[in-house]
């Protein structure tokens, strides 16, 4: 925050004081409710940040030449948040998995029972880990590909710390029993409202930076970041339209009911996959892959096809989560049809990525970072194929409600999202901290194999258990009665639940290794990299003068 001017620090302090007042108000009106706990938390969070701001406010005025460089400080903090949430989210994932095999592992506490730590896991990984990775990399990518510094000094910090406050409110909420029960949108109304403010700021910052670009064209990665920010905002607002019981209650009731609510929820749920977990991470793929492979993207036309295909088709696919339910048949069929068509743009992306590597396969062999990215593209292709397959009604009749879905999700979450993120981080960290390379290439290699082994064990365990489960539920005896009771199918799952927890544990260990490696890289000695001419922002007219070259 050393690059903030006195005025900007004052503004930051004013925002934090306002936030602290909101916290006090929440604590006061919500005394008899979990809302009060969150009020105290908001107060604490803003006071800590206020302390940080105050302790730097007597520092020297920032160097005017900062405008001739990219603004990387928020990215550095964002990387730290990403690493923290990765370990947090994956730890709770392993714990939740272990509870399914050994149910007493909640140690007789309410806060650690499966139903509460499961959303803590999903939110921690999707929004904590994934969200921070998206924000950090988008700040990195938009500056480099636009040849422009971030449009503002203060709002990147607001986006970053505001977003993490949302994550903290969401996750702590589940532990104390605050949830909307809408999968992947469990946070309650006040956290949702806060996220809208943060997200609008993020959008304004992003589009203003794009508007300052010194390149005539908007680079492909930024198409995806833009779609991610815009559509997530639409999804978030519509799915979270609720009315709170009172301003002193954390609890709210969603305005949608029954069948309409189910459609809105899965329209949101599936497109959170599309625009949070796919579009944003495809943006990473389109920047860090060519960067690391030192090869241009294979096909510009394929990029256009896959981008618009994904933006258009995905929004129709949500209803495939509701096959054979009380949702009208025509909507189910639309969802299935578009899910199958979705394979075209998805594989166009995956193919485009893998074909980019033509001529650089020797680098894939030698460079574990590039291998992370390559594997991610491979898993992206695999899980999008699986997704289209599972959306077909007869297949879905077997797979729905079973662990197969969980396996499919994790092929995407571990194999695609996490691998592309780590591949990107290993490229980004040395670049923004001005290190020649990562602290240890061997540890990147170790992480790669832990991550791949963990993913494969996890996904195979869930494929097996899911298919067995589905088959046991529909097996009939010769007399025409059901062969197995539900408990029979549960018993058959136990070995796979143990295998799943083990696979997840390997992946978690990999995340710890990565964090250590990045920490040691940051602590290492910076090298004086001579800034390449094409790697500094082209200063907009009227801004501070460029330093003499």
């Amino acid at each position: 925050m050393g690059q903030l001017t006195t005025r900007e620090r004052e503004l930051a302090a004013a925002i934090l004081v306002a936030l602290a007042v909101v916290g006090i108000a929440m604590a006061a009106v919500g005394r008899a409710d979990p809302l009060g706990v969150h009020g105290a938390l908001v107060l604490l969070y803003s006071m800590v940040l206020l302390f940080v701001i105050m302790s730097t406010s007597f520092g020297p005025a920032p160097d005017p030449s900062r405008f001739s460089r990219y603004y990387d400080d928020p990215i550095k903090v964002g990387v730290a948040f990403t690493l923290f949430w990765a370990i947090f989210g994956m730890f709770f994932g392993v714990w939740a998995a272990a509870q399914l095999a050994w149910p007493s592992l909640n140690f007789d506490t309410a806060w650690a029972s499966f139903g509460r730590i499961r959303p803590a896991h999903t939110t921690g990984v999707i929004f904590g880990f994934g969200g921070n990775a998206l924000i950090s990399t988008s700040f990195h990518v938009v500056q480099r590909t636009s040849r422009a510094r971030l449009a503002d000094q203060l709002s990147p910090w607001f986006v970053l710390f505001g977003y993490n406050l949302f994550c903290i409110l969401a996750v702590t909420g589940y532990f104390i029993g605050v949830t909307q029960s809408k999968e992947y949108a469990e946070a309650e109304w006040y956290a949702d409202l806060w996220l809208v403010i943060v997200w609008v700021t993020y959008f304004v910052l992003f589009i203003r930076t794009l508007a300052r670009r010194r390149e005539p064209h908007i680079y492909v990665a930024n198409w995806y970041y833009l779609a991610f920010i815009l559509v997530v905002a639409i999804l978030h607002i519509i799915n979270n339209l609720t009315i709170p019981v009172s301003l002193g209650h954390a609890k709210s009731y969603t305005i949608w009911a029954g069948v309409q609510d189910s459609m809105v929820q899965w329209w949101y749920g599936h497109n959170a996959v599309a625009f949070f977990l796919t579009a944003g991470f495809l943006a990473m793929l389109y920047y860090y892959l060519p960067k690391r492979a030192e090869r241009p993207i294979f096909s510009y036309r394929l990029s256009i096809l896959s981008f618009w295909g994904i933006t258009f088709f995905y929004m129709w696919a949500g209803s495939h989560h509701l096959h054979y339910t009380a949702l009208p048949h025509w909507v189910q069929n639309l969802g299935m049809t578009f899910s199958v068509m979705l394979l075209v743009p998805s594989w166009a992306s995956a193919g485009n990525a893998l074909l980019t590597l033509n001529g650089a396969w020797h680098k894939v062999r030698d460079d574990a970072t590039l291998r992370f990215i390559m594997m991610a593209a491979f898993f992206y292709g695999l899980s999008t194929f699986e997704g289209s397959f599972l959306a077909v009604r007869p297949v879905n009749s077997l797979s729905h409600y079973t662990d197969w879905t969980v396996g499919h999700v994790h092929a995407g979450a571990l194999g695609w999202v996490a691998l592309i993120t780590y591949g990107s981080l290993y490229t980004l960290v040395p670049a923004i901290w001005k290190r020649e390379r990562m602290y240890s290439a061997a540890l990147v290699e170790v992480h790669f194999w832990l991550a791949v082994a963990g993913t494969v064990i996890y996904v195979f365990a869930m494929w097996n258990s899911g298919i067995i489960q589905g088959l046991m539920w529909r097996t009939y005896t010769e007399e025409g009665t059901l062969t197995y009771s539900f408990v029979d199918s549960l018993l058959a799952m136990y070995p796979y639940y143990i295998a799943r927890a083990f696979g997840g544990l390997l992946f978690l260990i990999g995340a710890v290794v990565a964090t250590y490696n990045i920490w040691m890289t940051v602590r290492g000695i910076p090298v004086l990299i001579v800034e390449r001419h094409d790697d500094i922002p082209l200063v907009p007219d009227g801004a501070a003068t460029r330093p003499a070259e």
Partner: protein, 250 residues
């Protein structure tokens, strides 16, 4: 030609943004908007009842504890689903559910027709320690629910909020919410009679957790579990045959 068009679009951030909004809006609008206007989407059920304040409180505990993560409440139109759990679910059955709890995963069985299947005593034993009644279960224990008193004083505002999102609670129901919640769990009390008056003769008034002196969260959750699938009989009158999935034995 389209490539040239796109090269133009790429040069304008606002234009690109608008194009994304248009492309992404179509699917949602086509699939969601008609669900509010086409009448056949939700059937009519004249006998549809409302959740009592105690049942609604129980439903909120079900939500709070994340039960939806392991239990669906949606019986599909598949033969094995119907034979295992009962008649397949109709849209009308969740007409007053804000939010719906259809679920996406069955680590435990579907609960759409759980009401009346087991005794209150069984539910209390099961929630206190699932393995006492189902040795193979991997469900967490919720023994502490029986030790936690239910908050009654704000139930009126819960009902009022439900009304504002479309559930037809009357003024009388809202005024008497706390009394009714108490009365439903304490059958011998003078408040008990008002519950069946306001919510129908079918409403179960019972000392759900076995203790008749106070109302706990256990009372509320069991009351909710006992009403699942019993708000209307509409699904039982449905004569449509379930779909037959391929039999793996064939």
């Amino acid at each position: 030609m389209p490539e040239l068009l796109h090269r133009k679009l790429e040069r304008t951030a606002i234009g690109f943004m608008l194009a994304i909004i248009v492309a992404a809006s179509v699917g949602g609008i086509v699939e969601i908007a008609p669900l509010f206007t086409i009448d056949e989407t939700v059937e009519n059920a004249d006998d549809m009842r409302l959740y009592t304040p105690l049942e609604l409180a129980g439903r909120n505990i079900y939500i709070r504890e994340g039960c939806y993560a392991c239990h669906s409440q949606m019986i599909r139109t598949l033969r094995d689903d119907v034979e295992r759990y009962g008649p397949f679910s109709l849209a009308v059955e969740s007409k007053h559910d804000h939010p719906m709890l259809w679920g996406s995963k069955r680590t435990g069985p579907d609960l759409a027709r759980m009401g009346g299947k087991y005794s209150d005593f069984w539910h209390v034993a099961h929630l206190t320690n699932p393995r006492d009644v189902v040795p193979e279960s991997n469900m967490p224990a919720y023994a502490w629910l029986a030790r936690t008193p239910l908050r009654l004083d704000d139930l009126g505002s819960h009902l009022r909020t439900q009304r504002s999102v479309g559930v037809p609670y009357t003024d009388e129901m809202i005024e008497n919410a706390a009394r009714d919640a108490f009365g439903q769990a304490v059958p011998d009390s003078e408040q008990a009679s008002g519950v069946t008056e306001r919510y129908g003769e079918e409403t179960q008034v019972s000392a759900f957790d076995g203790v008749t002196t106070r109302v706990t969260e256990m009372d509320a959750l069991v009351a909710y579990l006992q009403v699942l699938g019993r708000l209307t009989k509409a699904a039982y009158g449905n004569t449509a045959a379930p779909e037959q999935p391929p039999n793996p034995n064939d």
